[in-house]
């Protein structure tokens, strides 16, 4: 049976090294560049005609734009509009990252904890900085809900603090775990299909269903990552 973990191995395609630091161009980096190229090509080429009544491609690009714009407006409010470019870039990057992993022989760069944690940490640090720059030290009131008796502060503040600090971890691990586990399941069941020969038709049917589920999860996880970022942004801007 094939080793399910081997598909996540990072392979350097162009080995580069500067002063002992390994900065080779890897298959993960190739997928990220491919995602960027696809996103840019899709968004710029499809609206090149700038038709008032959009054709098929322009409609698709507008659907993506409106989807994220509505998400930002509903969850962050009017002041959140200046953060729309960041949220849109985040959504498209994670979405295309997840979807590129579904291509056979492709590689999901979001299936590595360092990538997802970096994105989640970026959101967390950004949101914290926005909160402090907007409210000053008053932002620390976030950890002590308004109207709670002062005696409970001893236990409430640490709990709130821990729950706030766990946000980047849960955000990053959620995306990483979903992608990794999905691909492991695909690999293991694929191994069964090959191993069973003729009776492999049964795991093949299951594999079809799981592949559809994986596409759904790719879309859903990108959406959940983005909407949780919007919710954290809302908390920082509007302070509960």
């Amino acid at each position: 049976m094939a080793n399910p973990i081997e598909q996540f191995k990072i392979q350097p395609l162009v080995p580069l090294e500067i002063g002992g630091v390994n900065i080779s161009f890897t298959n993960s980096a190739l997928m990220m560049v491919a995602a960027l190229c696809l996103i840019t090509a899709f968004l710029t080429l499809s609206v090149r005609g700038r038709a008032l009544v959009p054709g098929r491609w322009q409609s698709m690009a507008e659907v993506f734009y409106e989807f994220v714009a509505n998400m930002v407006r509903d969850n962050v409010g009017q002041e959140g509009r200046k953060y729309f470019p960041f949220i849109f870039a985040l959504f498209m990057f994670v979405l295309f990252g997840n979807l590129l992993g579904m291509i056979p022989y492709g590689f999901a760069f979001t299936s590595h904890i360092i990538v997802t944690f970096a994105l989640a940490a970026l959101v967390f640090v950004g949101v914290t900085i926005i909160g402090f720059s907007r409210h000053g030290l008053h932002y620390l009131r976030m950890f002590f809900p308004h109207g709670a008796p002062l005696a409970t502060a001893v236990i409430l503040v640490p709990i709130e603090l821990i729950s706030y600090l766990s946000r980047p971890f849960s955000l990053g691990v959620r995306l990483f775990a979903n992608m990794t586990v999905g691909h492991i399941i695909l690999k293991v069941v694929g191994g069964f299909v090959v191993a069973l020969g003729v009776f492999g038709i049964v795991p093949m049917a299951f594999l079809g269903g799981v592949t559809v589920l994986e596409f759904g999860i790719a879309l859903l996880q990108a959406y959940v990552f983005t909407i949780l970022s919007c919710i954290y942004l809302h908390d920082a801007i509007h302070m509960h």
């Binding site: 973990i5 849960s170 691990v173 959620r174 990483f176 775990a177 586990v181 859903l220 959406y223 959940v224």
Partner: protein
């Protein structure tokens, strides 16, 4: 005890943690179905929250699975 055997037992124990997530996901869909049953007009509003709730709850199951895989393979 043989470390390989201990790894298998540990992975099995870690996977038990998914029970909670299974109950949670079932809860979400049952509330969703009951809500849409009582008020079919609210389907568009609550459906979105159903998907978000499902993804966040599912993440807990995957945290348990990640622990199991870490015990098995690292």
């Amino acid at each position: 005890m043989d470390p390989q055997a201990a790894k298998f037992i540990g992975a099995g124990l870690a996977a038990i943690g998914m029970i909670g997530s299974g109950i949670g996901v079932g809860n979400i869909w049952s509330s969703l179905i009951a809500t849409v049953g009582r008020n079919p007009a609210s389907k568009a509003t609550v459906e979105l929250y159903g998907w978000i709730g499902f993804a966040v709850t599912e993440a807990i199951a995957l945290f348990a699975l990640v622990v199991a895989l870490m015990v098995l393979f690292a």
